[in-house]
């Protein structure tokens, strides 16, 4: 039968044709092709039988993660400014694998992470008496607290709630007029910072117009001619200080490099978070169709095991399972919305979609568009993970870039996150959002954030509540399609479902965001 997700074993193992023009890129590609295809030819079909070579070796990976959780050798000093990431990679990977931490360990995680919280707001890469707050460890710390903490006195969430205003002030101190953010004091501007900030601002109920100002234009300018996104965009003309409101479109900007999986993930997820915020003509549009095309083109051929590469003509690497694969459900939803808008504009009522008149009036019954096929090869990505990305059986455990590379926490976390995306079919559901909207109680919430400038806040309490409600409803809009599971290598290989955009499990996301929006 014709399948839309063929196995590597059903596909011809053809190399990238040379066109009689050998170059370094071709040589490196050929080396990777033989490295991976050799491995596939030596191992049996994953679906044929359950044995140690074709199962997800959860026990070994747990051992691997545990081996660097309680004590790291001195060579890890290069990650001394990334300790919140070491925590996040471990606790999120264990969450995906379904390994529960005992309460004592959770308490240790919470108390460790809270030491990274600066009294001036934001988390550093290590204890606050050693390191400046930085946007990236702030994401890693907050997500780690979402996973291991709780509402009890020592659970970390209360401490986080008390630090909201300072975290916001730190965020505003990172803001640049062009809409970019420096990652730390005097630091670089790129979309990693934007993404980490927007996730935290969304989850902790910190969003204001002044924080969001021009962020959409910055992101849109990072999209390249290929459809993916670059690290940053350069503003060639600065906005005039007299009329900041009118200046946002006067920028000439240029993306600062080629499209890249990591930055595409950050940009798409950031843009997606912005789309939840009900501000007229916001966010400035991106080309979601081009982003989807770029993303699916990054999936490697059968001879490379069907993993994702991070840039055109580069090599497949397990970490892009998340950076590129994890962006595809987001692209899917953005493209669906574009189609819906087009249909609405052309006045046609699609046979499968009934048009909602206004986003805030989703009272009408709406049919989910069920006709979308899987947009990337979910089977092949799982095969890549099992066969090429797992460290050889009986060794250290852990997942890796590709055969021949050493496994590490970063690759383990991002490869497993991508595996979760490949196994589960998760959609942003308009029905779920409509339901959330109905149950939102605007009378409950934490103290409103005090904006930095007098005109930087929402125009009215009503507007603020409307934004809070929409943002909260959208955060909890991701649902797993029933019967949409597709697991290669037997049921034992099933991992838990991570949430697109945020990359923490839905069961962690919900209580956490509810705590900060005081909702149930």
């Amino acid at each position: 039968m014709f399948t839309l997700t063929p196995s590597i074993y059903q596909l011809p193992s053809a190399p990238l044709p040379s066109n009689s023009v050998p170059t370094d890129t071709l040589t490196e590609q050929a080396e990777t092709e033989s490295l991976i295809s050799d491995l596939f030819s030596r191992l049996p079909l994953p679906t044929s039988a359950v044995d140690s070579t074709t199962t997800l070796r959860k026990g070994e990976h747990t051992q691997f993660l545990a081996s660097t959780f309680f004590k790291l050798p001195g060579k890890f000093v290069s990650l001394d400014a990334s300790r919140p990431w070491l925590v996040f990679w471990t606790v999120h990977s264990l969450d995906i694998l379904g390994v529960a931490l005992d309460q004592g360990t959770k308490d240790r995680v919470v108390s460790t992470v809270l030491r990274f919280l600066s009294p001036n707001g934001g988390f550093g890469g290590g204890p606050a008496n050693s390191q400046l707050p930085h946007l990236l460890p702030t994401y890693a710390s907050v997500c780690s607290l979402a996973i291991t903490g709780g509402p009890s006195d020592n659970g970390g969430w209360k401490q986080l709630a008390e630090a909201r205003q300072e975290i916001y002030d730190f965020f505003m101190s990172c803001k640049r007029p062009d809409g970019g953010f420096v990652v730390c004091k005097d630091g670089e501007v790129d979309v990693r910072g934007t993404y980490c900030l927007l996730v935290v601002a969304t989850l902790l109920d910190l969003l204001t117009p002044e924080l969001l100002y021009n962020v959409d234009h910055f992101l849109a300018a990072c999209q390249t001619y290929e459809g993916g996104f670059a690290c940053s965009a350069f503003p060639f003309t600065l906005p005039s200080s007299e009329s900041p409101g009118a200046s946002e479109n006067l920028f000439t900007r240029a993306s600062m490099a080629e499209a890249h999986g990591g930055y595409t993930s950050c940009s798409l997820n950031s843009y997606f978070l912005l789309t939840a915020i009900p501000i007229p003509n916001f966010p400035a549009p991106i080309d979601a169709g081009a982003a989807l095309r770029w993303s699916v083109l990054q999936q490697g051929e059968a001879i490379e095991g069907g993993g994702f590469r991070g840039r055109t003509n580069k090599l497949v690497d397990g970490c892009y399972s998340w950076w590129v694969g994890g962006g595809i459900p987001v692209c899917e939803e953005l493209v669906r919305r574009e189609r819906e808008r087009r249909r609405k504009e052309s006045g046609k009522t699609g046979s499968k979609i009934e048009i909602i008149e206004s986003e805030n009036e989703a009272e009408e019954e709406e049919w989910e568009d069920v006709s979308v096929p899987p947009l990337f090869n979910r089977v092949a990505l799982q095969e890549f993970t099992l066969i090429a990305a797992q460290q050889e059986a009986g060794s250290t455990g852990g997942l890796r870039d590709k055969p021949g590379k050493r496994p590490d926490g970063y690759h383990t976390c991002n490869t497993l996150s991508g595996l979760s995306i490949a196994q589960h079919s998760v959609h942003h559901s308009t029905q779920q959002i409509a339901q959330n909207r109905k149950s939102f109680d605007p009378s409950r919430g934490l103290t409103a954030i005090k904006p930095k400038s007098e005109s930087g806040g929402w125009r009215s309490e009503e507007e603020r509540q409307n934004v809070r409600g929409e943002v909260w409803a959208n955060v909890l809009g991701w649902i797993e399609e029933e019967g949409g599971e597709l697991i290669v290598g037997g049921k034992e290989n099933r991992v838990n479902t991570t949430t697109p955009v945020f990359n923490i499990l839905g069961l962690r996301l919900k209580p956490f965001v509810n705590y900060f929006y005081c909702q149930e």
Binding site: R83, R115, P127, D186, E188, A254, A290, P373
Partner: protein, 347 residues
């Protein structure tokens, strides 16, 4: 041009293991230990040297001491951990406060590069240095970056930095027409050596399309389309070249159909179905014969054909081509092409 070779190399940081507490120079400072709390997770078993240096760094930073010994300390730490953004920040602020010779610092960064001490921070530090040095002519830095791309022609940080370098100095009006022209030639040489280097394609896009002042008039655009097409004909399976071609058409909102005669041979449609090449077609055509090892059809050529058909309101024909991609010619992306097919059928 500034001659960096003349500047005195910075003495390398002390690698002796004499604890700072035993050095007279530091006798007035009380070290501060890392505040990890009891029983932390992910503790790193620091070397004595790193722990010692960090204990003194915390003390120095707490008192905001801007001094030579503080600079030495930051260098010691950065050499052990080039990703220590806090220490980098402190170093830059101290260099500025002490009005140090920043060209000497640039020289140190070159030395770091040779020793492969790589991080986001090394590049950002360099960017800040160039901003402060603000040379009248950044040519020496352009040449340095060109050199460092030779052994590592896809280093993302280096390419992003090159984009910044031209952008920043353009806003200061310090990039001459000759420099822009030379840069384009250098980029073309990179692409001649490896036409699959997507980083170099991205640089070409910046030089020819994205930067302010790029000539995007009709003639320049034709040259660009020809360049992209020739690259496709040179290496027909090169996704970089296809994406560049499509990027141009999309960016300038041009129809795809006029270039179809140059694409059709890659679709391997039976010749009876192919329209002939119009007499007035003046874009480069595929080589005849095609390069060896060029199996047909090329999926991206079929995609191009399908989008031409869509453009000409032949949705069902377009859907059929997308269908063939899904069922036969690009099975890895069967789901995506099926999605494109359904769009044609449903809309």
């Amino acid at each position: 041009m500034r001659c960096l070779a003349d500047s005195k190399p910075q003495s390398s940081a002390s690698t002796s293991h004499i604890p700072l507490a035993q050095r007279d120079q530091w006798s007035d400072v009380k070290p501060i230990a890392q505040d990890d709390g009891p029983n932390p997770v992910v503790p790193i078993m620091y070397s004595e040297e790193y722990r010692d240096a960090m204990d003194y760094f915390r003390a120095v930073a707490a008192s905001e001491e801007r001094s030579e010994r503080a600079l030495d300390l930051t260098e010691t730490i950065i050499r052990m951990n080039p990703a220590h953004y806090t220490v980098w920040q402190y170093r830059m602020a101290t260099l500025l406060a002490l009005k140090k010779d920043l060209e000497e610092e640039l020289q140190l960064m070159n030395e770091f590069a040779i020793q492969n001490l790589k991080s986001y921070q090394v590049w950002h530090h360099r960017l800040l240095l160039l901003t402060h040095i603000s040379p009248e002519d950044p040519q020496f830095e352009i040449e340095y970056i060109h050199q460092s791309l030779l052994p590592d022609p896809k280093n993302y940080h280096t390419w992003a930095y090159l984009h910044w370098l031209y952008s920043h100095f353009y806003t200061l009006d310090r990039i001459s027409d000759k420099q822009w022209a030379d840069e384009l030639r250098w980029c073309e040489e990179m692409l001649r050596v490896d036409g699959r280097n997507n980083s170099a394609w991205g640089w070409r896009w910046y030089l020819r399309v994205a930067r302010p002042g790029a000539d995007t008039g009709k003639d320049a655009l034709k040259i660009e389309l020809e360049y992209a097409l020739r690259a496709v004909h040179h290496i027909p399976h090169n996704v970089s070249a296809w994406n560049y071609l499509r990027g141009l058409l999309r960016h300038f909102k041009l129809p795809l159909s006029p270039l179809l005669p140059a694409i059709l041979p890659y679709t391997a449609r039976p010749s009876t179905q192919l329209p002939g090449v119009p007499d007035d077609f003046d874009f480069p055509l595929p080589t005849s014969p095609l390069p060896k090892d060029t199996p047909l059809p090329i999926p991206l050529a079929l995609e191009y054909l399908a989008e031409v058909l869509l453009e000409e309101n032949q949705a069902s024909e377009a859907g059929q081509v997308f269908g063939e991609l899904s069922t036969d010619y690009d099975r890895m992306r069967a789901g995506y092409w099926e999605f494109r097919r359904r769009e044609c059928v449903e809309e």
